[in-house]
């Protein structure tokens, strides 16, 4: 598979989760794991342009796919507008849900460049945050929507 623009080849155990492949074999530890039932979204990455929970996909299922993780979002040292939005609007506290939340927000804005607050709240409801109460995350995504 291609991960953050780089072709990665490996033989893996069939049951190896994509999240573990990214974290432990590629050492891309920005993708976090927050649950074991596909609810929390901390492990969200972008696969072939769509957000996906990497704890719910076997690594082999992503074979041949184009995967972007949080580490691959900034380009040439410039933060992605969603990353900038999270920084400007205090969209994170402990930072654990943040990579997944940002990846979800990137695809949300790709699908809907000018979302309402309600649409943002619906769009990120597959991602849990226990710190922020989501309000600053909504502001962060709006910041990205207006600035990009």
């Amino acid at each position: 598979m291609t991960v953050n623009g780089k072709v990665r080849k490996a033989d893996v155990e069939p049951r190896l989760l994509l999240a573990h492949f990214l974290r432990e074999q590629l050492r891309l530890t920005g993708t976090h794991i927050g649950c074991d039932t596909s609810q929390c979204g901390a492990c969200t990455v972008i696969i072939d342009g769509r957000s996906a929970k990497s704890c719910t996909i076997f690594a082999v299922q992503a074979s041949g796919s184009d995967v972007t993780t949080i580490e691959g979002l900034a380009k040439n040292g410039d933060l992605h507008p969603v990353q900038t939005g999270f920084w400007e609007e205090h969209g994170l506290q402990c930072g654990y849900c943040t990579p997944g939340m940002i990846m979800t927000a990137v695809t949300l804005l790709n699908d809907n460049p000018s979302p309402s607050d309600r649409e943002i709240r619906e769009g990120i409801s597959g991602n849990f945050c226990r710190c922020t109460g989501y309000q600053h995350i909504v502001n962060a995504i709006q910041h990205a929507a207006t600035k990009r």
């Binding site: 155990e13 049951r15 190896l16 974290r23 432990e24 050492r27 891309l28 530890t29 920005g30 993708t31 976090h32 794991i33 927050g34 649950c35 074991d36 039932t37 609810q39 929390c40 901390a42 993780t69 949080i70 580490e71 979002l73 900034a74 933060l79 990353q83 999270f86 920084w87 400007e88 205090h90 994170l92 506290q93 402990c94 930072g95 654990y96 849900c97 943040t98 990579p99 940002i102 607050d117 943002i120 709240r121 619906e122 990120i124 409801s125 991602n127 849990f128 945050c129 226990r130 710190c131 922020t132 109460g133 989501y134 309000q135 600053h136 995350i137 909504v138």
Partner: protein, 787 residues
């Protein structure tokens, strides 16, 4: 104790966080991101019964698996690890990190596997076969107190961990009880509100589950332990005590910590086992908790039943309060378990002048996961019980809930105020917070809006709640860990500043707020300052982050250490400038005589001089580094007022929160942006408790809500946009005037939301509904009027 005055520069400004660039790029290092050469992985075999005697454990299949390094049963762990210590003075049954012969809650560890990778470790744990002689599970709190269906710990009759500790008016320090005042209060009462209320059990659920890496270096005889903890220094103390090492031989590191909410204060069995196994095998081991594991293995919060009686005159004057508390603490005492409900007693005085208060507390063992601190820890419960009773009183007297509060407030000129519960409230202006909230939400307009909605047949209600909490925990007489915090400030040779703090953060943004304070104190750019935390090898002393104490206690220690260094630096600068040190100002990266900035010396050049002092000014040692411990003489008591509007669907019973207005007074604010984030987060957890969160066990003691499939974590869609206002009443408890804000949101939110639900259901004659506001429960009330 003179502290350099805070300059109005960065302090008080909405500075964006310095922590964020690494976290938004996936470059933070959490425990699970640590990989050491040769590191092995641990997995725990856990009990699948709530209560039983272990008949047999067969580890042979696990041991035979390729990649398994070792398997330990509870008996084998007991040979290398003593029983788990607790941090409260209450009697406690023996608690082993891994059960030896009896399991007392579902999920209690019974064996440990050490293996090559986490998949093999889990496979091996699953291959361990344990048989049990099942015992009856003690699940129902009130039944448990009668010793039925069985007694969990033989030395604790009727499952009573703590039996009937009285507190309040007429109770002496030695525990003698005089009922005269409380009896008189109720004898004079024209109205008494009596209500049984449950403050239900919750699962804290920081988004990062717990985890630990323990590395033992046999050559040096030293241990390094990384853990997702709120208090690495306490971890170091406890790990040293249980592994037989000295505190100088243990280094504890809290790396990036993905939330704590009180549940990462406790030092857990898994941490002790990791350290003991690493030492025994001379290796490094990692254990990372699964979410499903976290639901049974990480402490729960709340779970306090209250019987509340509130006595008043018909004009609304409160005369007396009785609060009988029964806490379900689960199967064992953990670090602070027994102390948490005592905070509920302590805060029973709320924001009111109440002539007589009597509280009693009983803590009960059940076959459930132990409880310990969870955001607010005892104070949200107190707030909920008193504010619910006040709301019921207002309803009974047909008074506006705001006016009933106003009539009973402790007045601004009465601070410091000695409460009936022995607390000394530091400062407060409760009417100011109430009026700010009434204005912010347009209380009269909101009532009209509600009434108009009702005319259309909608079930809409309003709720209001006051709160006061205890934060900034100290002095040492109030905390078994020590009630201080520590900081060391160093001006480096190049003029940059390194500062340590024992207040180890997990999302609070201390690198930013502490940096703001030092930037102002030294007149240097924020970018020139590094705040070091979380590593006992770097931060020499500390307590930790809990009880909303970082800023009030840790921030003050930082400023005191900074003041000492600044005073010394002024002496060096005075020598260079041939001026008097008292005439100097630190501004814009220079140190200069007041009024003559152009003739000043750069901050960096004074720093360089201090490290190569030729000539050395008389009476000075070289260097610019100093430390301070700060122990407050009193806690702080932040307060506020929350108001909510809620609608219940008449057809389905589903509640929707329409509006949440919060006025919070945390004293002086260092960074309002971060403060708002803290309040939002607290509100989210309070609203979660009020509306959707609840830990549920079945009659066999099996956890029904054991994953995110069944335990509702609030999502973005569950909240309206919160409307915040701040009032500012500085505390005299510390020179910053800061009170603390981390837990505030969890206090006012639950009672104001339940009050709104009761108001929405007023046509059905309901006076109280227990949390959470399950649609089915509300639907039944709508259908048949049953509460």
């Amino acid at each position: 104790m003179a502290v350099t005055p805070v300059l109005p520069k960065l302090v008080g400004a909405r500075v964006k966080r310095r922590e964020d660039p690494r976290l938004i790029q996936g470059r933070g290092t959490y425990v699970d991101d640590i990989a050491l050469v040769g590191m092995q992985h641990m997995a725990f075999k856990r009990s699948d019964v709530a209560h039983g005697r272990i008949r047999s454990i067969d580890t042979s299949a696990a041991e035979a698996m390729d990649g398994v390094e070792a398997v330990f049963t509870g008996k084998q762990i007991a040979e290398i690890l003593g029983p788990m210590p607790i941090g409260t003075p209450f009697p406690s049954p023996e608690h082993r990190a891994v059960a030896v012969d009896t399991v007392r809650y579902g999920g209690e560890p019974v064996a440990v596997v050490v293996a090559r990778d986490r998949y093999v470790a889990r496979d091996a744990a699953d291959a361990i076969v344990v048989t049990y002689d099942t015992l009856p599970a003690v699940v129902d709190l009130e039944q448990a107190m009668t010793g039925k269906p069985t007694v969990i710990h033989p030395d604790f009759a009727n499952n009573l961990a703590v039996a009937l500790v009285p507190s309040g008016t007429g109770v002496s320090a030695s525990g003698e009880v005089d009922d005269t005042a409380i009896d008189e209060a109720f004898a004079k009462a024209e109205v008494v509100i009596s209500q049984r209320m449950m403050n239900q059990r919750l699962a804290p659920n920081a988004m990062e589950p717990r985890g630990v890496v323990a590395q033992y270096e046999p050559g040096k005889g030293t241990m390094t332990i990384w853990s997702s903890t709120q208090n690495p220094h306490i971890l170091r103390t406890m790990i040293a005590a249980l592994t037989g090492l000295g505190q100088d031989q243990v280094r504890a590191i809290a790396p990036e910590v993905g939330g704590g909410f009180g549940a990462k204060i406790n030092i857990y069995g898994e941490e002790y086992v990791a350290a003991a196994v690493a030492k025994q095998l001379g290796i490094s081991v990692k254990w990372i908790e699964d979410r499903s594991e976290a639901f049974v293995a990480t402490t729960h919060g709340r779970d306090i039943l209250a019987f509340v009686d509130l006595a008043a005159k018909r004009d609304g004057t409160v005369l007396g309060l009785k609060m009988r508390l029964v806490a379900d603490i689960g199967a064992y005492n953990m670090l602070l378990t027994a102390a948490i409900p005592t905070l509920t007693m302590m805060m029973a005085n709320a924001t009111y002048k109440i002539p007589a208060i009597r509280t009693t507390l009983t803590e009960v063992f059940t076959n459930k996961t132990p409880t310990d601190a969870y955001r607010g820890a005892g104070r949200p419960e107190a707030t909920y019980f008193v504010e619910r009773a006040m709301d019921m009183l207002a309803r009974e007297l047909k008074m506006d809930p705001a006016e009933l509060r106003r009539k009973n407030f402790i007045q601004p000129n009465e601070f410091p105020f000695a409460t009936q519960m022995g607390a000394i409230y530091d400062s407060g202006d409760y009417e100011k917070a109430l009026d700010a909230a009434l204005k912010a939400c347009d209380w009269e307009g909101l009532k009209a809006e509600r009434d108009a909605a009702r005319k259309q047949g909608r079930l809409v209600g309003l709720g209001l709640s006051m709160y006061v909490e205890v934060c900034g925990l100290g002095p040492s007489s109030a905390l078994p860990t020590g009630g201080w915090e520590h900081s060391q400030v160093t001006i480096e040779r190049d003029g940059r500043i390194s500062a340590t703090t024992g207040a180890s953060p997990h999302g609070q943004g201390n690198e930013t707020t502490f940096g703001q304070m030092l930037a102002d104190q030294f007149g240097v750019p924020l970018e020139h300052i590094t705040i070091l935390h979380g590593d006992t090898g770097v931060v020499k002393q500390g307590i930790g982050t809990f009880g909303s104490r970082s800023q009030a206690v840790g921030g003050t220690a930082l400023m005191l250490a900074g003041s000492k260094v600044r005073a010394k630096m002024a002496k060096f600068a005075a020598a260079l400038l041939e001026a008097h040190e008292d005439d100097l100002v630190f501004e814009n990266g220079t140190i200069a005589v007041k009024g003559s900035p152009a003739q000043g010396k750069s901050f960096a050049s004074v720093a360089a001089y201090a490290y190569v002092p030729v000539p050395l000014p008389e009476g000075l040692e070289p260097g610019l580094s100093d430390e301070a411990f700060f122990e407050p003489t009193n806690n702080t008591y932040p307060f506020g007022c929350h108001i909510s509007m809620l609608e219940i669907d008449r057809q389905t019973g589903e509640p929707t929160l329409l509006k949440l207005v919060a006025v919070d007074d945390a004293g002086n604010l260092i960074n309002p942006l971060i403060v708002e984030g803290q309040i939002h987060g607290g509100l989210a957890q309070g609203i979660g408790q009020a509306m959707i969160e609840e830990v549920v066990y079945n009659e066999d003691g099996q956890l029904v809500t054991g994953s995110f499939m069944d335990y509702a974590i609030p999502r973005a869609i569950d909240f309206p946009t919160f409307e915040l206002t701040a009032t500012v009443t500085p505390t005299p408890s510390n020179p910053l005037g800061a009170k603390g804000v981390g837990e505030a949101g969890t206090l006012g939110s639950t009672p104001c939301i339940v009050a709104a639900a009761v108001d929405a259901l007023s046509e059905f004659g309901v006076s109280h509904v227990d949390m959470m506001l399950r649609p089915e429960k509300l639907w039944r009330i709508i259908q048949g009027g049953q509460s």
